[in-house]
């Protein structure tokens, strides 16, 4: 049984469905990438999974039906999201942002340990722990976004364009970091990314989403070798 199993997902913002009929699965410990053009419905799919927008279809997380669950219940079940655009809480300090990420947890000691852990992973955040998070650079905010999502101790991390606005070097570091999180913690990751080369480099499988429809699952190597995808997303 897959960790996340989605069948025939429909979602949108009121008027018409943006996403119509998405099927996808993510297994325990797997990295799955969702590729697609701008406006194809990647972010909409991610929001639908987290319960941020109205949706219908079959959504199961670890066997539990989450198609009617509230966003906070979904977080409690172990699904966290790094929203597109980083989701920084600008007026909280860096450390308070991490604490806010642990909103659904009550174990004080565990939270303190995790804060230390993420400060260790990203020492730049540790140096700025008392600084307002809105004053961080784009790359630092992206590190904060991932750490904050991890503070809920998820089992599946939804990552919507973690490289947005980062330099090529920082983008590479970001992916190496995600890969490490995946390996060390056996964290399943569903990744939306424009930088298909790097994304496919750390992914096991991938899907291509086109105007609200998603194709069959394919291995990362297969996707990277596909001429049409090469032309559309890899640019070589």
């Amino acid at each position: 049984m897959s960790l996340l199993q989605i069948e025939d997902l429909h979602a949108g913002y009121g008027a018409a469905d943006i996403v119509h009929g998405v099927d996808l699965t993510v297994d325990e410990g797997e990295v799955v990438v969702l590729l697609g053009a701008n406006g194809a419905g990647k972010t909409t799919t991610m929001r639908a999974i987290s319960g941020l927008i109205a949706r219908h279809g079959s959504l199961r997380f670890d066997g539990t039906d989450i198609s009617r669950a509230a966003p906070d219940e979904i977080v409690r079940l172990g699904l966290a999201q790094v929203p597109q655009g980083r989701g920084t809480i600008a007026d909280l300090t860096v450390e308070e942002n991490l604490r806010a990420g642990a909103h659904v947890r009550r174990d004080k000691q565990g939270i303190a340990e995790d804060i230390t852990r993420w400060f260790d992973t990203y020492p730049r955040l540790a140096e700025r722990r008392k600084q307002q998070a809105g004053l961080l650079s784009g790359g630092e905010q992206q590190m904060l976004a991932i750490s904050r999502a991890m503070m809920s101790r998820p089992r599946l991390l939804l990552c919507d364009e973690p490289s947005l606005g980062l330099s090529p070097k920082l983008t590479q570091e970001m992916f190496a970091s995600l890969s490490r999180i995946n390996h060390e913690m056996r964290m399943a990751i569903l990744l939306v990314e424009q930088n298909a080369t790097l994304a496919l480099g750390i992914a096991d499988r991938g899907y291509l989403i086109e105007v609200g429809h998603v194709g069959a699952s394919r291995s990362a190597a297969d996707l990277a070798g596909d001429d049409a995808i090469r032309a559309a997303y890899l640019g070589y």
Partner: protein, 373 residues
């Protein structure tokens, strides 16, 4: 010594300074009755009541980011609840205050429900409607409220003690009552804002989708926040009732809400001292301009002073004072806590969702050097 002086967070000097600040406030509060004339102290009580209402509005608008043009109504609900219970039913005023707060909490939650779906201008309009309806309600139910003629004879008599004897003693008594009420309101706000709920409130204000995917229950947080903010305004209203002794619907017009908004912005929104300072400014400024000139000129002078203050103190009086203070004193934040050592780490329970072995701190694995250093 060269300025600014630097102290380190959590050290003795830092704690001393913080304690000193509290001690100073307590000293001023206790000394005031001995240094100002009773009629001046009566004014201070009026300013304190305004400050309490501003503290309530600041919780919702400053910290929560939700505008309300209806807070005069909550102030009024508190005032009339206290007034009616004390005059018609002979209730002991503090009990009436609490009931008034409860009434306001419920009304606040009810207003907070439609406010969930509304932003900016639309929220402003809905709360405006609440504010505008209130005086009409008072007039409509005049058998209960006294209508336009007013509700008279509300009082909170000082205990039978020589210290509170006579007219001056009564003023002193109400001053202390207002001080305690303000302290309680501030402690309530401080308690909410310093912890988990406070972070959720700010997160919802700064980035609602991000807050929701972190697991913040927007409906609960937003409606309860509205209710508590209304309850604090209601407490201020109850005090207003016993302080003035007479209630008429005109006291609870839109103008009162505007005063509260100005107080909050002038003092410094989303700060703890801001609404208190703002409440005093907005209470005393019209008194002073009224003493300098009279008639329409006083209103014009008042308006000009407000504009000047908003332009010169962008972050409010508190922000201005903070910048001034930073030239004298800098607090150095604590160093990060020592690194998390695996060998001492307690095992993580399985229900946390991560295998204990997986919960190690960073190790130098095949993936390479520390990232993003």
């Amino acid at each position: 010594m060269a300025l600014p002086i630097t102290v380190h967070e959590g050290t003795m000097p830092h704690r001393g300074i913080r304690l000193g600040r509290v001690a100073l406030v307590v000293a001023v509060v206790l000394a005031l009755p001995y240094v100002v004339a009773p009629y001046r102290l009566d004014q201070v009580t009026g300013a304190l009541i305004l400050a309490i209402a501003a503290v309530g509005l600041n919780l919702l608008s400053g910290f929560g980011g939700q505008i309300s043009l209806g807070h005069a109504a909550f102030f009024g609900f508190g005032a009339y609840t206290t007034g009616i219970l004390v005059t018609d039913h002979g209730w002991y005023p503090p009990v009436a205050f609490v009931l008034g707060m409860l009434v306001c909490f419920v009304v606040g939650v009810l207003v907070g429900v439609p406010a969930l779906r509304l932003r900016g201008m639309y929220l402003a309009l809905v709360t405006l409607a609440v504010g505008v309806i209130f005086p009409s309600l008072v007039r409509r139910f005049d058998s209960l409220t006294g209508g336009s003629a007013g509700l008279f004879g509300i009082s909170f008599d000082a205990p039978d003690h020589a210290y509170f004897a006579g007219r001056a003693g009564q003023i002193l008594w109400l001053y202390y009552v207002a001080v305690v009420a303000l302290a309680v309101s501030c402690l309530l706000v401080w308690n909410i804002m310093r912890g988990r709920t406070g972070r959720a409130i700010v997160a919802l204000r700064d980035n609602e989708p991000a807050a929701i995917v972190m697991g913040v229950d927007r409906t609960v947080v937003r409606t309860v926040l509205f209710g508590i903010s209304a309850a604090i305004a209601g407490l201020a209203g109850g005090l207003f009732a016993v302080d003035t002794g007479i209630l008429t619907p005109d006291s609870f017009s839109l103008l009162f809400t505007i005063y509260l908004l100005v107080a909050m912005v002038l003092g410094g929104r989303a700060s703890f001292w801001g609404p208190i300072i703002g409440g005093f400014v907005i209470y005393y400024l019209p008194l002073w301009t009224g003493e300098l000139t009279d008639g329409p000129a006083a209103g014009v002078l008042f308006g000009i002073l407000i504009i000047v203050m908003v332009f010169t103190l962008r972050e409010g009086v508190v922000g201005g004072l903070g910048r001034l203070g930073a030239r004298v004193l800098v607090v150095e934040p604590r160093r990060p806590t020592p690194r998390f050592d695996l060998s001492e780490a307690p095992p993580v329970s399985a229900d946390q969702g991560i295998e204990p072995a997986a919960c190690q701190p960073r190790q130098e694995t095949a993936a390479g050097a520390p990232l993003a250093d």
